[in-house]
Every structure is written in structure tokens, then in C-alpha cells.
């Protein structure tokens, strides 16, 4: 099996992020060509942030959370309450959302991360539903129960009203930063540790690594992304719905990640765009049936194309005879540097005393 390895280089990283930024920032325009509308771009970008963070958990560590609505929704409520009772400036609300997301992730992570993926999926689902139930019962005074929270005034950033395209640009800046950070994590030692969790936790523990701490780190990072997305959602439409906390929100981010392609970072964001497009544009064509069609697409992808759209794209390229770069990272690049390494290895082998 021969695979081509793509070296890491800063110029190339710059090009990738540059192209990504251009595509994202131009979205309000190109989306209208395919039947979308400006505000849909904002929604897509917000969900892309959510899905991107989710991929750091699911894609890297293999831990499938069915309760990430807990972070998205709780942040939504915290943002709403901050706007209503403290300040319409979005910065204090963001700080509050991040603090709450981190604390919540520490508590839920302690309860759910100890054992295998099966328990994790079940327990994250259950505890997120607990928060949903709590929002509708014991916290009803603050959450407004079924009615949700409606903001009276538009949130602002240092006096700049956060509406229309302003929200979009804010979200777009954040998704580009989020993407750059996720890529950096992936090629760093931290990323290698997180990706090894999916492979063999026992080997990792008996290599002297605190596996639980790394799992918690991945969970925290994904919670921070989810919390940021929840906060942005409330800035975008100054309203907090109980649906933000519902299991279907957790389910949506799972669906996005899987149909886009987990462990690819770009895939879940494409999945987010696809799903939002489906929900908003295709729905106007086929009505409520869109959910059934989307569910069927999801099942078919899980069965036949476990790598999602990105995997499908790579398969097509392979069929067309193009070389597909390996998805592995953290490896030396050129044959030249490998030759040097091997030589150094040989000398080490010969004269090593340690």
C-alpha cells in the first residue's frame, strides 16, 4: 500500500485557511444562487462551529455524545439571561457562556467519560434530557418554560448592533478561527494523544498517559465550541427556544458530522451546510417530508459510506485516477528527510550507549 504524504507547511496552511475564509465570507452571495438566503448563511456558520467542535470529540477520540445540546442550549439560556438582565453587549454574555459550558462539561464529563462509548452515548443523552426537563420544570422561572426567552432589544458589540450581516461576519470570523485552531490541535502532540484514545485506551494508559484527563480535554474543547455556537444562535435570533436543549438538537449535530465525514474537520461543516440547506430550502419543496428523506440519507450513509461526503469525494477521485493524500498526520514528509532519519537511526543503533 503506497500512500502519498502531504507535508505540513505554513504557506500551504495559509492557502487552505485563505480559501476556506473566502468560501465562508462569500456564502451570503453564493448561497442565493442555489436557492438559499442571506440569513441561512448565518445559521450554517453557527452550526458549522458546533459541528467542528463535535468532531474534536467524535472524530478524534471516537466518543459519540448524544447530549451536546446540553452545552448549546445551556449557553443559549445563559446568553439570553445575560442580555435580558445584565447587558446587551455580547462580550459579557460570551464570557458567561464559556464559564458555564466549561463547568457543565466538567460535571457531565465526570459522570459520563469513565467507561466505553456505549455508556457514554446513553448517559450523555440522558443527562442532556435531564437539563431539558429541568428547564421546563424547576428552572421555569428563569427559562420561561415552553415559551422560551425573548429578547427585547438587539444585542450589540461595543455599540454596533448585532443584526443581519453583522452577526454573519462575527460568526464567520469565529468559524475561521475555530477551523485554524482545530487544524493546529490535530497536528500537535495533543491531537495525537486525542486520536490515540480511539485506537487503544489500554495501551495509552500503560504507556503512562492519563487517558481520563485527555478524554476530558477533548470533551471540554467540544463543549467550548458548542457553547460558542449556542451563544451565537441567541445573538442571531434574539430568542431562546427549549428545542436548543432537546435531544433532537444533539441528534442534528450527530447527523451533520456523520453525513459530512467524521475525523475530517471540514466534513462536519459541510454536513452542517447540507443539513441547514435541506431544512430551509428543500423543506419549501417537499414540506415536512424533508426529515424523512434526511433520515433515510443518514441511514444509507452510515451503512454504505461510513466516511461521509468527504470519503465519497475521495473515492470518486480515486476512481478518476487521482492520488488522494493520506489523512494521517504527524509524520515526516519527504523521502529526503526520511532517508536522513534512517541514517541517524543506524548510527544510533551502532553506537548507542544511552
Amino acid at each position: 500500500m503506497s500512500t502519498e504524504y502531504r507535508p505540513h507547511s505554513w504557506p500551504r496552511e495559509g492557502i487552505v485557511l485563505g480559501v476556506f475564509a473566502v468560501v465562508v465570507f462569500a456564502m451570503p452571495w453564493w448561497l442565493t444562487w442555489i436557492g438559499g438566503y442571506e440569513a441561512l448563511a448565518t445559521k450554517i456558520v453557527i452550526w458549522a462551529i458546533f459541528a467542528l467542535g463535535f468532531d474534536i470529540l467524535l472524530g478524534f477520540t471516537g466518543y459519540l455524545s448524544f447530549g451536546h445540546a446540553a452545552f448549546f442550549g445551556t449557553s443559549g439560556y445563559v446568553a439570553g439571561l445575560m442580555f435580558l438582565h445584565y447587558s446587551e453587549s455580547i462580550i459579557p454574555a460570551l464570557l458567561a457562556c464559556l464559564v458555564v459550558s466549561i463547568v457543565l462539561a466538567l460535571v457531565l464529563g465526570f459522570l459520563t467519560l469513565r467507561r466505553t462509548g456505549i455508556y457514554f452515548a446513553i448517559l450523555t443523552l440522558a443527562f442532556a434530557q435531564m437539563l431539558h426537563a429541568a428547564a421546563l420544570s424547576i428552572f421555569q422561572e428563569w427559562t420561561g418554560g415552553d415559551n422560551g426567552l425573548t429578547m427585547s432589544a438587539q444585542p450589540n458589540l461595543f455599540g454596533l448592533p448585532m443584526d443581519g450581516l453583522n452577526v454573519f461576519y462575527l460568526a464567520a470570523v469565529l468559524v475561521v478561527i475555530g477551523f485554524a485552531m482545530a487544524r493546529q490541535i490535530r497536528r500537535s502532540p495533543l491531537g495525537l494523544m486525542l486520536r490515540s484514545i480511539k485506537e487503544n485506551q489500554m495501551r495509552l494508559e500503560y504507556t503512562g498517559v492519563n487517558v481520563m484527563a485527555y478524554k476530558m480535554t477533548a470533551y471540554l474543547i467540544s463543549a467550548i465550541y458548542a457553547g460558542t455556537a449556542g451563544w451565537l444562535m441567541v445573538v442571531y435570533e434574539p430568542y431562546v427556544a427549549t428545542k436548543f436543549l432537546h435531544w433532537s438538537t444533539s441528534g442534528e449535530v450527530v447527523i451533520m458530522s456523520v453525513i459530512g465525514g467524521v475525523n475530517t474537520l471540514i466534513g462536519p461543516m459541510i454536513g452542517a451546510a447540507f443539513m441547514m440547506y435541506f431544512e430551509n430550502v428543500v423543506q419549501s419543496e417537499i414540506g415536512e417530508l424533508w426529515k424523512l428523506v434526511l433520515g433515510a440519507i443518514f441511514v444509507l450513509i452510515v451503512i454504505f459510506l461510513p466516511g461521509g461526503f468527504v470519503d465519497g469525494y475521495n473515492r470518486v477521485r480515486k476512481v478518476l485516477g487521482q492520488k488522494v493524500p493520506s489523512r494521517r498526520h504527524n509524520v515526516p514528509d519527504s523521502p529526503e528527510s526520511m532517508r536522513k532519519l534512517r541514517e541517524r537511526g543506524r548510527t544510533a543503533e551502532a553506537g548507542r550507549t544511552d
Binding site: 502532540p189 495533543l190 490515540s196 495501551r203 503512562g208 504527524n330 509524520v331 515526516p332 537511526g345
Partner: protein, 258 residues
């Protein structure tokens, strides 16, 4: 605290372990001086692997103490025990299947360099990075230098063992535990592995080897302990143990009562 009052790197005193109805380890005492190579042999089910599992905290002993490098290990988390300088090659090779060989070894280098937990996300692994370079060196040393980009899952079984050995060596442990390092290997591969282990011994790394292949035991070990039904029935230099009637009895049947 780190300085030990005895000369032993590993000091196992009176360790017992019972699994519902089965006495897996019975009052096992084992003292390993620094720099030595110690073999543990015994018939199947004698408790050899259980003993190694107790040493690295995979199983908690019912009784007895394990002191490593002057420190009692009881109650420590497995990764803390490993961080103190123990590495273990398992009976079935434990590797990271979908990761490249280089990444497999890099993980162990990182665990050695950064400790049990560190958030390092500014550094880029890859060409010129010390961790990646060292990992490639170690892979070359165990004879896998030509395959560093391969997925570990594509390796033959013997090579997986060698990879796991590379992962263990990458941590530069004070004590290396080898659970049948040559099982399932061809004669040729076995000889290569023995050679490799001998070369490592020259650097003064302390090792405990569980092995069935007496050729391997005699080429490597300076001291050996014979376990049968959870008990130490003989120990000493290989040549002395070889003629011990109790050992012959243990292998040829009979042995202490069940």
C-alpha cells in the same frame, strides 16, 4: 524518598491474589537488582501474567507489597506507575492500529517527555520535530525503519510485537516487562528479537521476561524464578534452577496440590 535503602530496583514481598476460588498468586516474593535480566517461567496458569499485571496496577493484590525504585506502588494509578519507569509488552500485542508506526512510537516519546498529561498544541509534529525524529530512530533500532508510515494494523503479528517493543523502549523505562516477547515468531524473528534484547541489556535496562522458549531464557536471563500454581518453587541462576527436582516435577505433572 527516591533513594532506596535496599539494592533492589523492584522488591515484591508476599504478594497474594485470589480470583473467586483460584489462588492465582500465593505469597510471591521477588527481588530484582538494578541492571539485571530476570526470567519468570512456569507452566500455563502458574500466575506469571497475573504477577506482571499486579506490578503495573492492572490488578490489585489482596496482600503484600510492591516497591519499585524505593516507592510502594499500591494505590497508584496505572499511568503513574508507568511514569515511574516501568514499561510492559503484553502477551497479545497492544498497539494503536489505525495510526502509523511513527505515531505509535511518538505517543510513548511524548508520554516520557511531557509526563502523563500536558496540553501541547502549539508544537507541530512532523519533519524536524524532535519527537518524530526520535520515534523514527527507535523504529529503525527494532528493525521497522522502512515502514514508519504504514498503519500499524497492516503489520504481521511478529512485527506488531516488535512495534510494541519500540513503543516500550521509547519511554526509556528503568524496568521493562516482557510477556512472551517471541511467542508466535519464526526462528529467524526470534533470534533477531533476542539479539535486540541483548543489545538493550548492554545499556543496563532492567528486564523481567516471561518466556516459554528456554533457548530465549538462557540467552537472556541472569536469574530466574519458577512459578507453579501461584507459588515460587525455585529461584536462582538458570543453570542451578534447571536441575532442581521441584521444577521438573512442576512441569511434568503433580506439583503442589490444587
Amino acid at each position: 524518598m527516591t533513594q532506596t535503602d535496599s539494592n533492589f530496583l523492584l522488591d515484591v514481598q508476599g504478594v497474594s491474589k485470589r480470583f473467586s476460588g483460584l489462588q492465582a498468586l500465593n505469597n510471591v516474593t521477588l527481588q530484582i537488582p538494578e541492571g539485571s535480566v530476570h526470567a519468570i517461567i512456569g507452566p500455563n496458569g502458574a500466575g506469571k501474567s497475573t504477577l506482571l499485571n499486579v506490578l503495573i496496577g492492572l490488578i490489585e493484590a489482596d496482600e503484600g507489597t510492591v516497591r519499585f525504585d524505593g516507592r510502594e506502588l499500591r494505590g497508584m494509578k496505572p499511568h503513574d506507575i508507568i511514569q515511574r519507569g516501568i514499561a510492559r509488552v503484553f502477551q497479545t500485542p497492544q498497539i494503536f492500529p489505525a495510526l502509523s508506526l511513527l505515531e505509535n512510537v511518538a505517543i510513548a516519546r511524548l508520554a516520557k517527555r511531557d509526563g502523563k498529561f500536558a496540553i501541547k498544541c502549539v508544537e507541530n509534529l512532523g519533519p524536524g520535530n524532535e519527537v518524530s525524529d526520535e520515534a523514527a530512530e527507535i523504529l529503525t533500532e527494532v528493525g521497522l525503519g522502512d515502514h514508519v508510515y504504514e498503519s500499524a494494523q497492516n503489520l504481521a503479528r511478529g512485527d506488531k510485537r516488535r512495534l510494541e517493543l519500540a513503543v516500550c523502549l521509547a519511554a526509556h523505562p528503568k524496568l521493562l516487562l516482557l510477556d512472551e516477547p517471541t511467542a508466535g515468531m519464526s526462528r529467524h524473528d526470534t533470534n533477531r528479537t533476542v539479539e535486540l534484547l541483548q543489545r538493550i541489556s548492554e545499556r543496563g535496562m532492567t528486564k523481567i521476561v516471561i518466556e516459554h522458549d528456554m533457548h530465549v531464557v538462557f540467552s537472556l536471563a541472569e536469574q530466574m524464578t519458577v512459578l507453579a500454581q501461584g507459588q515460587v518453587i525455585a529461584s536462582g541462576a538458570p543453570a542451578d534452577v534447571k536441575g532442581d527436582p521441584k521444577v521438573i516435577e512442576a512441569y511434568l505433572g503433580g506439583g503442589p496440590k490444587e
